[in-house]
């Protein structure tokens, strides 16, 4: 049984968590969506929702592969959407491994070698062996505004909430590999699905939300799963065990001292 390198796992988790947190944090203030709102405005609002928020959450993550399945636990501190500290608590083998993101820069720490390592940009954008995530999942929102054109292709009203389906097509020369992305989210900003299409417009991977409910005082999906649509046995699922928003977090938590657990 082979596991991805622990730093890889951390990064992948980080991406997932960031993406999930971003999506989760977005739900804070429901948009009273007017029907003439443009797709760009909707996306911009989603992004703006998460600015300046802090959170503390405990999560578990299951990575599924044809040959093996692995579950680990970790907790996440976030400050806005830019900064985060993730620390593993289980399994014992990985406990203490931590990842810190401040702005665009990332470090990882492994208690075994007692060193923190700054990840080069090129590594941050790699697709890790055994991972269902990419850097784009993490930087999704910002990229969405800068590099895509958005069109609302569908909107359905149900129980007072509008479910939007937006298709986002990258602009020419955008640093985006996808042919398009299809984002389905509700007007209370719960992201339901995000599907990535290749340049033949075939779906490649998909992030899907399950069990949308109130957690920590906000509506968000308790479980989110990123699946490889070309191989049903490859998926990664992250589940919120608990989450608190607007917690007091000392800035000290986003330093390399904190990364090392000092």
């Amino acid at each position: 049984m082979r596991h991805p390198q622990s730093s890889h796992v951390q990064l992948l988790i980080f991406r997932f968590v960031s993406a999930v947190c971003a999506a989760g944090l977005l739900c804070c203030a429901g948009i009273s969506a007017a029907s003439d709102i443009t797709a760009e405005e909707l996306i911009a609002r989603m992004i703006d929702q998460s600015r300046g928020l802090s959170s503390y959450s405990e999560l578990s993550m299951t990575v599924n592969r044809p040959q093996w399945q692995r579950t680990s636990s970790f907790n996440v501190l976030t400050r806005g959407r830019e900064d985060a500290l993730i620390r593993f608590t289980a399994p014992a083998k990985d406990a203490g491994n931590a990842t810190l993101k401040v702005g665009e820069t990332m470090w990882t720490y492994s208690p075994k070698i007692r060193r923190s390592v700054r990840l080069p940009k090129s590594m941050m954008s790699q697709e890790w062996a055994g991972s269902d995530f990419s850097y784009n999942d993490l930087a999704r929102s910002d990229k969405l505004l800068a590099y895509y054109r958005h069109d609302i292709v569908d909107q359905v009203e149900e129980n007072g909430l509008i479910t939007y389906t937006i298709e986002s097509t990258p602009k020419e020369n955008a640093p985006v590999v996808w042919g398009k992305e299809r984002i389905v989210f509700r007007s209370d900003n719960v992201l339901l699905t995000q599907t990535f299409f290749d340049q033949d417009m075939q779906p490649v991977k998909e992030m899907r939300a399950f069990e949308v409910q109130e957690l920590g005082g906000r509506m968000l999906a308790k479980r989110m799963r990123m699946s490889d649509l070309e191989d049903s046995e490859r998926w990664t699922e992250v589940t919120y065990e608990s989450i608190e928003f607007d917690v007091e977090i000392d800035d000290r938590n986003f330093t390399q001292f904190a990364l090392r657990g000092e």
Partner: protein
């Protein structure tokens, strides 16, 4: 002396079968050495060619620190004065901008090197004989990508698709750009196809914000000028690193030297075996003719002439065999002139720094050495058996023979 020569010729003809066999053995050896030698030389040429056409050149001028940290951080300014390169022994020179990069498609990510080229100046690198499907890089301002067939297959992408290239800019910030693939190339070796993605030089300069080059490859009219030109350029361009291909690629340089040496070992081994075979054959040949030589001496032939008769016989056979052998070898080399197809072992031979084709290469010097050495060995090999004849007394020869 003429008489001796005639006698020698007649003796050779008299012992047709035995001498024919000796001749045949030498022909096979010489032909074998010829073919092996030309293949080894071909390999040597291959090593050299791959090393030089691989964006290296005979001499490479690099921005300082570029060797320690390849990438965009250290570059040669666009405004550099290249007057030093205006010399008769320099064939051409080419500036390039290269950076390690990560390239991403929808499904895969690979580490490659992105190279900004000025296609009009790439006449001496592997670029000029690429087979391109779609559109090549035809202008330094071209903004699209030209990638290798192997890489395209690994990335599961194709013509007209967009790829994302990520590299570290000169100030260490990440530069992420979308490129469209307008061309896919097939090259002689898959190494190039996997390692390089090409775009226009000016266009890459604009994207990366580097107003210059990472290196300049200099191609000489002859390999022999390398050290001289290198030291001259190094003194004229004190702010830049000037290195020869051998300094930049010590492995290939050593392989190159090693093959050059192997060629001579090969010749020595072949000739060594040949000479012992020859001595063996000649000793037998001489021993069965002891009575005959005794008779010649009885009728007044001087010992010296007896010896030279044997030696001349041997040298005639040797020369004849040498000519036939070289002829056969030449025919064989001509027959495999397009090279031996090693495609089945392509991965292996490429890892070794060779192409998938083993093309023979003839070096005249080697054959002059081979020819001269054979004749000298023939002389030595026949002299000692012949001496045995005159060592015995005439009476003994007549009685024992």
């Amino acid at each position: 002396m003429r008489l001796v020569f005639q006698l020698a010729l007649r003796n050779i003809w008299r012992q047709r079968r035995r001498n024919g066999l000796v001749l045949f053995a030498i022909v096979v050896s010489v032909g074998g050495v010829f073919v092996m030698n030309s293949l080894a030389r071909g390999m040597e040429q291959d090593f050299l060619r791959f090393s030089i056409e691989n964006f290296r050149g005979h001499i490479k001028i690099l921005a300082p620190n570029q060797l320690d940290e390849p990438g965009l951080r250290y570059s040669i300014p666009q405004t550099t004065n290249w007057a030093a390169l205006d010399r008769p022994d320099i064939e051409t020179w080419t500036p390039r901008l290269r950076s390690p990069a990560v390239i991403m498609s929808e499904r895969e990510t690979r580490g490659v090197e992105i190279v900004g080229i000025d296609p009009t100046r790439e006449s001496h690198s592997f670029i000029h004989d690429l087979v391109v499907e779609g559109e090549g890089i035809l202008d330094p301002n071209d903004q699209h990508l030209l990638i290798g067939r192997d890489l395209a297959e690994e990335l599961k992408t194709g013509l007209g698709r967009r790829l994302v290239v990520l590299m570290n800019g000169p100030d260490d910030t990440a530069i992420e750009t979308g490129f469209r693939i307008l061309g896919i190339f097939d090259s002689e070796t898959t190494r190039y196809e996997e390692a390089y993605v090409l775009t226009g030089l000016s266009s890459l300069q604009t994207i990366s914000g580097v107003d210059g080059f990472t290196g300049v490859s200099v191609y000489l009219k002859d390999l022999a000028y390398v050290d001289e030109v290198q030291s001259s350029l190094a003194s004229q361009l004190p702010d830049l690193d000037v290195a020869t291909w051998a300094q930049l690629d010590p492995f290939t340089s050593e392989m190159h030297r090693f093959i050059g040496f192997t060629v001579y070992i090969l010749i020595v081994v072949f000739l060594g075996t040949l000479v012992f075979g020859l001595i063996n054959a000649l000793v037998t040949a001489v021993l069965v003719r002891i009575k005959e030589f005794g008779m010649l001496r009885v009728v007044g032939m001087k010992s010296r002439l007896v010896v030279s008769q044997v030696v001349i016989e041997c040298v005639i056979i040797m020369l004849l065999a040498l000519m036939i052998g070289l002829g056969v070898g030449l025919l064989f080399v001509w027959w495999i002139g397009d090279g031996i197809d090693l495609t089945a072992f392509a991965a292996g031979v490429e890892a070794f720094g060779m192409g998938a084709r083993m093309v023979p290469h003839l070096v005249v010097d080697d054959f002059v050495i081979l020819g001269v050495a054979s004749v000298i060995l023939g002389l030595i090999a026949s002299y000692f058996p012949a001496r045995r004849v005159i060592k015995a007394s005439i009476l003994q020869s007549l009685r024992d023979g």
